[in-house]
Each structure stands twice: as C-alpha cells, then as structure tokens.
Amino acid sequence: MIRRYFLLGMGLTTLSLGWSQSPDAVSSPPAAPPASSPPAAQKGFLGSDLPAFDPGSEVMTWDGKVWNIQDQRVFRARFEKYLNAEEETGADAKKYRSQFKEMLDLLSPAKMSKENFRKAWAILPQASAYEPDADLCNALDDAIFGVLLAQQEVTKIDDQNRSLAKRKDTLEWNSRFAADSSLLGPAPKNPVAAEQWNREQNLKRDMKMQPLLAELGEVNASIAGNRVKKEALRLQAKIEFQVLIAQLFLQRRFEHVLLANRFYRALFGDGDNQLRAADDYTANQSSKNKESFGDLGKLPKTLGQLDAMANEAIRDVREGVESFSFLLDKGELKSAAERLSEAFAIGEYLPEIRLLPRVKKREVLEFTRKSNQLLSALEVKDYERASGLVRELEATGKDFDSAKPMAAIETARTVSALHLAKARAAATSGDRNTLEAELRSATEIWPRNPALAEVSGAIFTQADVQQQALNDFERLHAQKNYRQIFEDKVRFIAATALTPEKQEKLKMVLDQVQLAESALLRAAELAKRGDAAGAWESVERGFSDYPDDPKLNQARAEFTTQAAEFVRSIRTAQEMERKQQLGSSLAWYLRAQQDYPLSEIAKDGIARISSRILAP
C-alpha cells in the first residue's frame, strides 16, 4: 500500500512541477472574472475532473484549480530548455520508437496471443535502456511480473481447491456409506430389545459419521477461503497495475498508457476494465493528500476512458505541432510559440514533440525568450525594459499583440508620473510627508522608472544642497564672514526659507552688510568728488556697525591716507572723549569740523560733549 501511494505521489508531483507550484500563481489576468473561466472548467462531458486548456486565456484547468501555462516559471524554463534541445533522431531514439511500435503491434487485439505477449514483455527491459524512457518500461515490466506472480498464486489456489473438492467428494461418499451401513442386519422382535438395538445402532452410526462430517466442514471452509483469497489476489494485482497506468497518464506518458493498457488486457482477459484504483485510493486518501494532489476519486471510471483520453491527447499534440509548423512558415511567431507551448504542456514526451527539428524550434526560441522576458519585466514592474521588449517583439512577430502589455505599461507610466508630479510639488512646498508618500507610491507602481531616480535624485540633491548651504551659513556666521554670506545670499535665502530662526539671523547679516555696502557706495561717490574726508567718514560710520568687513577695512585704510589730518582730529577727539578729556576732545571735534564742516561724526561729537558740559 505504501509503495502504491509513493508511486502515485511521485506522478502527481511531477505533474505539479510541470505545470505550476500553486493555482495562486495565475497572474494574467490578475483577477480573472468568472466569465473568462475556460469552458472546460464547467461541468461538461468529463466535468472538471480532467486537465483542460483554454486557448483564449492560456489557462489550464484541472480539478477546480487554474494555471496560466505561459506564466509559470518552471514551465517556461522547461519549454526554453526544450526549444534548445536537439531533436531525438539518434539511433537509440529510433530503436526505442521501433520497439515501442512493435510492442503495441504485438499486443494489438488482432494479434494478441500468449506468444506475442511474451515477445512484447521481453522487449520492455530493452526499451527501458533508452534514457528518456525514465525506466518507465522497467516499472511496467515489474508490474507485469507482479501480476504474473499473483496469477501463479491464483493457479496454486485453484489446484488446492481442486484437491479439496476431490476430498470433499470422498468424505461425502464415506458419510453416505456410513449412514447406509449402519442400518444393515435384523432388528430384535422384542419391542424393548428392538428399541435398545435401535439406540445402539444410531450411536454406532453417529460415531462413524462424526469425523467424516467434521472434516467435510473443514474442507468446505478451506475451499471458501481459497476462493476469497483468489479473488483478493486478482483484485490486488489489477489495482496495482491500474495505479501504474493512472500514474503514467498523470505523467503525460500517453504512449506508455496505451502500452500498459494493452498489457493489462492481455494479463486480465476477463473483460473487467473498471478502474478500481480510484475507488481503492479514495477510501484511503487523506484530506491533506487531496489538497496536495487532488481528489483521486475524480479519475476516469474505466481503463477504456483512460485509453481514449491518451489517444485524444496524442492526436491533440500532433495537431498542435502541425499548427506550429504552419504558423512558423507564415512568420506568425507568437501563435506558433503558443501552439508549440500548448502541445509541449500536454505531450512533452510524445514523439511529435521530441522529433521536432531544433532549427524550427530555435526560430521561436528568441521570440519565446523575449516573451518570457516581457512577462518577467511586467512581473517586476520594469516598464522601461518591458516597453523595449514589446517593440522588439512587434518587430519580430507579425502577430504579436502589443495592446495588453502596452496598456499596462502606459497606465503604470501615467500613474507614476502623477505621483512624481505630486512629489515634486510637495518638495517645492517643503511638505516632507507628502513627498515621501508620493515617492513611495511612484516607486511601488514603477520601481525602475528612470524619472523616479532623476526626480528623487534631484530632490535629495536639493536636500543635500540645502543642508550644505545651512552648514556653510552657520560656519560663515560663526566666523563673522558676513561679506561671504552677502556674496552668496541667494543660496542662503533659499536654504533658510524653511527655518525661520536662521532666516532672521540671515536677515540681520544681510542688513548689516547692506549698510556697509551703502556706506561704501556713498564713499565712492564722495571720493569721486574729491571729498576724501566725507568718503572716510562714510566708511567709518559703516565700519562702526560692521568692523570685520574686509571691504570696509580696505576703503577705510585708503581714505584715511587721503584725509589724514581730518581723520587724526576725529580719532584724537574720540580717544580724548574716551579718556574723559572732554575739553581736549571737544577742541579736536571742533578742529575736525573746521577741516570738514559737513562731518557728521564731528557734529555728533560736539553736540554730545556740549550737552554733557552744559548739563546741570
């Protein structure tokens, strides 16, 4: 029993790998509406019990589960591997095919005989030597051997039963004889003696018959037990063989199915074609196993059905390959690739598929590869690459329909662009939360959008520049290099736009430098008119507000030389004032005013000291 489960499990696992990992993997369309479900998925001639392919949606349906054959990575990989593989036209392959054909021929109903059966059976181990056979012929050979062993056992039981039947006959005769002989001899006349004689005679008869009857019962029980055992052995042998056939069917080894069926009919010539494997396994299949491999109770009910379905699959594959060749000649690569992939999905191991020349296959290989790349690109949302692949596929295949992929690509582009536009606006307004949210949305829709990298790069560069500018501002401010801040004011105004505290700081700096600039401009004007003292005074007044400005310092030094006497008077007056030499200070201010009557510094100094002197 364990062995049977193992074989069936292996078969179903192979099928699962060949088609899909999970029905959830269906991605095209992502949420297929019920209306688009393949017709075969509905309850029909065979219900939903058998695999069915809908060419409209490229969906394979089996047991209520759906796979898109083009979307499955494993399938795609296998298909590409097949397209690159050389056709199986070697001597071994030819020999294998001829052996297979010979076996089918020997076991055909018209030629069926014990002799032909033995010949066919003898070929099985040879056919198994061919590597692509995957030792399936050996498995079949073993199964046949198992059936023959069971049949031998059945023959032994039959022989045993025959012996038991003879013994039964003997026992029955002996019992009858014993019963008859007990009545021989005259009975006494005396009624009392006669009654006693009769009791003794009956006792004697019972004593003679009892062992015979006991043995007869045992023989009957043995015969009945052997009959049950024989039937059980026959049924067991049938079921084991049927399981192997079902496994071959599920593995899509349709030729092996046909061959195994013919061997089955040769082995069990009782006309009983009922497929009991399903019934047997249905009773024992766990719910977990059903989830993994499907409900075995839904398999066909007779071997004839299985045989017909295998033949139908072979025919379908043959037609698919013919269609592929025709479409290839017409240059309709997409359809050709689709027909071939459908045929491959069903009849991967059939000669029609295996013998297809590599030259033909390679014609669609590039197209298929690009189609797969397009699917991958769409899966990972690499729309730029997908767009390029669509263009290439359009150029390669006359029948490639770019509407669906381009719709997906354009939609993603548009939505991504909208999010990016919002992100830009948020960046401009300093709305960091919205910026992050929009960038995240744009990234989710189209992760490899070149514009995304460009925009986010610009935004982040902007952020970097802003931070750098703020750092520079703080550094220059600490150095009191207000002139440099003033020179680069546009950059700092932009950088401090979002930080009111720094903005205020910058405003003070700019006002200060602006005053210095005004003083310098005024000084330059006065200097042009030859008013060196006025120019110096203008610079000096700016200097008192911003003593660290290099430009002011330079101008101050220059005009100091040009108006040396006046400058000396002012500076001495200021120095005297500082030393509380108010009389001398006032005299120096007066002297400075005499030298430059328009001097504001002198005027202010005179007024200041005079008021102090005259203060009560």
Partner: protein, 134 residues
C-alpha cells in the same frame, strides 16, 4: 669876506640822532601797545597744549584772543558755550570757551573778536573770567 669859522657835522652824531629817534618811536609804540592789552601780564594759551591734555592745565589762567565762530549751546546753570577761533602759528585753532551765567548781559555774536582771560576749570574747560572786544 670874513672868513667864517669852519663847522662840520659828525656822521656819528647823525647816526646817533637817528637811532635816538627810532628808539623813542619804538618805545612810544611799545608803551602805546602795552597800554591797550589789559591781560598783558597773563600768559597766552598755546592751543596745542590744550588740545594735547586739557586736564593737565586745570586751574591755570590764560589769555586768549579770537573770533567767535559759533555757539555750541547754553544752559541757565552753566552758561553759554562758544567756539572761539584763535590763531597760533600759521594755523587757526578753534577752541571751546564757556561763558559763565554771570555774563548774561554780554551779547556775543559770531564774527566778533574778543580778548579774554580764561581759566581751565575742573572739568578741563576754558571758562571765561574776563573779556573785552579787541
């Protein structure tokens, strides 16, 4: 004709007389001049000294002569403050002078020339003690 006695004037006498006349003139001029400067006994102020360190001159009395350049302010308690343009050497030196409140009746006007006796007060200012038009 009677011969007159020959009398000759000595050049020395001539030169001596001339010198006497000059000396008398100079002496007269000196006498006249000294008679018009009422503060001839008071030391004249050197503006440079004042500008250099007025505080060091506190308590000293000087005479000054100059032209009223401008009024710098006034207060009932402290008087009036003027700028007096004096000449010393080949330069004009404007100096601040304070006219105390006791001289209210003196009407000082810009451009008037005055000779004055000033004292460097405790605050280092030139405070007028006496003044006359010159």
């Amino acid at each position: 004709m009677a011969r007159r006695a020959h009398r000759t004037s000595s050049p020395v006498a001539w030169w001596g007389g001339l010198a006497l006349i000059v000396a008398l003139g100079a002496g007269g001029a000196l006498v006249f001049q000294k008679g018009s400067d009422p503060y001839r006994t008071v030391e004249a102020l050197k503006p440079q000294d004042y500008l250099e360190n007025a505080n060091s001159l506190r308590g000293n009395i000087y005479q000054l002569e100059g032209v009223i350049a401008s009024s710098l302010g006034s207060s009932p308690e402290k008087g009036r403050l003027f700028s007096l343009r004096t000449s010393y050497g080949d330069k004009d030196w404007p100096l601040p002078v304070l006219l105390p409140p006791g001289y209210r009746d003196i009407n000082l006007q810009k451009g008037q020339r005055y000779r004055m006796k000033v004292k460097v007060n405790e605050t280092g200012f030139l405070e007028i003690e006496e003044m006359t038009k010159s």
